[in-house]
Point group: C2
Chain length 351, copies 2
């Protein structure tokens, strides 16, 4: 019997609504395979912050370290500035646990309408491989002469050889297994130091992957192309910020960003990896029980895959595909009228 | 008789092909109004760089300073790294001439098919107001331990109170004249110093514009929303990088980015402003005589508007609209088969 201990952090807003549905699906899917998941819940969130002044306890990371994986809903809520909530919970987990790969599949499912004209399933089917622990996301910098007319704010991006190379290699490996086509996001015409460096590392590493076809697009035209010809892309590699942008824009082209999963992976398994939907806490719809749990279920499937249970992953994905295709119990963002639970139940039934 | 001296820099690739068409349109449109334009050509480009090691002569900016406006094609070509070509020509002009506003109208014309499903003219009609001289575009930073496994690259973004406030105010003023709806692009959850600062300045300045409705979107979801509901937006304000991204993505949603213009404005008129298409030098189609000159013509119209000739601007815009609507002599990117000159001629005829 395979057993795994999962830390669950529902977080804020709709995170609290979608995580229970993900767990329902995970329990249903693992049961048939004799896999035992033990879920330990942590109510770390902006609410915690209001009560304690901290997003998680001081020994939060020590606690999480002992788990096989982390399952997270969403972080951030009005009342706590975003840079406080995110740098207090989500980002330190990614960083301290060296989850340097953020893997985000983007796929148009049969049964969902793309906002792009004339796109069918198969036309949108790619992976965004996003650098997840350095780059533009940085707390180095600050304000000089605060509050005065002379205020100057600096914000440092930091790219290391180690951090840049390992994400690019990961993307090449993935491209090698797929269509052997890698597209790198850059902006070397504007960002004088970081992006020319990024480009030079893509070029250097490409020598080890002679079969992989590599191209480069500045992030502005990359976004434009994603809308004009999503079928062109297979594996995309981008820095922390550019990967973030492309992995929201991509899912938007598949009908709803709420179905998209995000796997924060430590490929060396020195620390637990973390799985979450791409979407945020969505304060505008929180509490209405209309949030779409599919991104969370898909993230759960990726978690089981990461834990070596490909069989469970495949069952969960088949269930998601089936429910969407049958147009059964879809939530509002997918054109339906079902509640979060009703869609969760439909997925469990399909499993 | 109104007279203006225009510096013309066709630059690289299709820049050389579209600029003559823009000039033809400008000459045709000004003739009727008794306006005299004198064009002085400068062949500064990547070719110049190959010959002289410089993108423009050392006194290039001194020379340009004496003109009423600058009309630019595109800069950058394979063989010269993008950060060399752009920081050698386009970016110093924007900066030294304090062209701190980059104004980019985005509009879906009658007769062009949006790649977005079910969008009609009127659904896409907004302005991107982009900060143009500071922010993420910075040459501060560098490489430590170059060439070694310990390489660290830092890239500094710089936001000043002066630079941030003036672009935000410009955007509020524009919003005030239009639908009183301003959307600010941010990423304050990831970029710890710069974007929370940006947000705080938007909030501070909004107090002076109580009638303007303001919202904020992180750049990832902003891109997603632009595809899902472009009709929501009216005036968008963004930093140098975020404005760049949104002003390529926006035009992509209008059918072709080749029609989009970019006005690099010094509102104080202490130095000449510069007008160019949004598109780049497009090495892939250069020399084929299929480049779409409409972005360049529209940029020319904005130049005349900046010089106080609203009448000429309006005539040129009417001609663009008419030609597109009649589906006359359209280039390949718009679904036609016309050459660059044929489309240019059609615009002149419509004028
Ligand atoms: C060529 C490049 C430096 C430029 C920019 O990023 O500003 C271009 O993309 C633009 O939008 O004008
Ligand atoms: C909430 C935010 C910090 C986060 C990010 O930008 O990484 C989110 O947008 C994501 O993509 O996971």
């Amino acid at each position: 019997m395979r057993e795994f201990n999962i830390a669950v952090i529902p977080g804020d807003g709709i995170g609290k609504e979608v995580i229970p549905e993900g767990i329902k699906a995970l329990e249903a899917a693992t049961a048939a395979f004799g896999i035992q998941l033990t879920f330990t819940w942590f109510d770390w969130s902006c609410e915690t912050y209001h009560q304690t002044g901290k997003m998680m306890p001081d020994n939060g990371l020590e606690i999480l370290k002992t788990f096989d994986a982390i399952y997270l809903g969403a972080v951030g809520f009005p009342g706590v500035p975003d840079h406080i909530s995110l740098w207090g919970l989500l980002l330190p987990i990614r960083r301290e646990f060296d989850q340097y790969v953020n893997l985000r599949p983007v796929r148009l499912f049969e049964g969902l309408a793309s906002p792009l004209a004339n796109k069918a399933p198969g036309d949108i089917d790619f992976y965004v491989v996003r650098e997840n622990v350095e780059g533009e996301y940085s707390n180095i910098g600050g304000v000089q002469y605060p509050g005065s007319d002379n205020e100057v704010v600096v914000q440092q991006s930091v790219f290391t050889r180690k951090g840049t190379d390992r994400i690019i290699k990961y993307a090449f490996e993935l491209a090698q297994q797929r269509d052997k086509h890698l597209s790198s996001a850059t902006k070397s015409n504007g960002l004088y130091h970081s992006m020319p460096y990024w480009d030079s590392r893509v070029e250097a590493i490409s020598a080890d992957y002679p079969e992989v076809n590599v191209d480069h697009f500045h992030i502005d035209i990359f976004c434009a192309n994603l809308v004009r010809m999503p079928e062109f892309y297979d594996v995309i590699v981008g820095s922390n910020l550019f990967g973030d942008i492309l992995s929201d824009l991509g899912p938007a082209c598949t009908g709803t960003i709420a179905i998209a999963p995000s796997a924060n992976i430590n490929p060396d398994k020195t620390f637990p990896s973390m799985f979450e939907p791409v979407h945020g806490s969505a304060p505008d719809i929180a509490g209405q029980n209309i949030a779409n749990p599919i991104g969370t279920v898909w993230a759960g499937a990726m978690m089981l895959q990461h834990l070596g249970c490909d069989d469970v992953h495949d069952v969960m994905m088949a269930a998601i595909e089936e429910v969407i295709q049958r147009q059964e119990s879809l939530t509002r963002d997918m054109g339906g009228i079902a509640s979060t639970q009703e869609l969760g139940d439909a997925i469990v039934a399909a499993i």
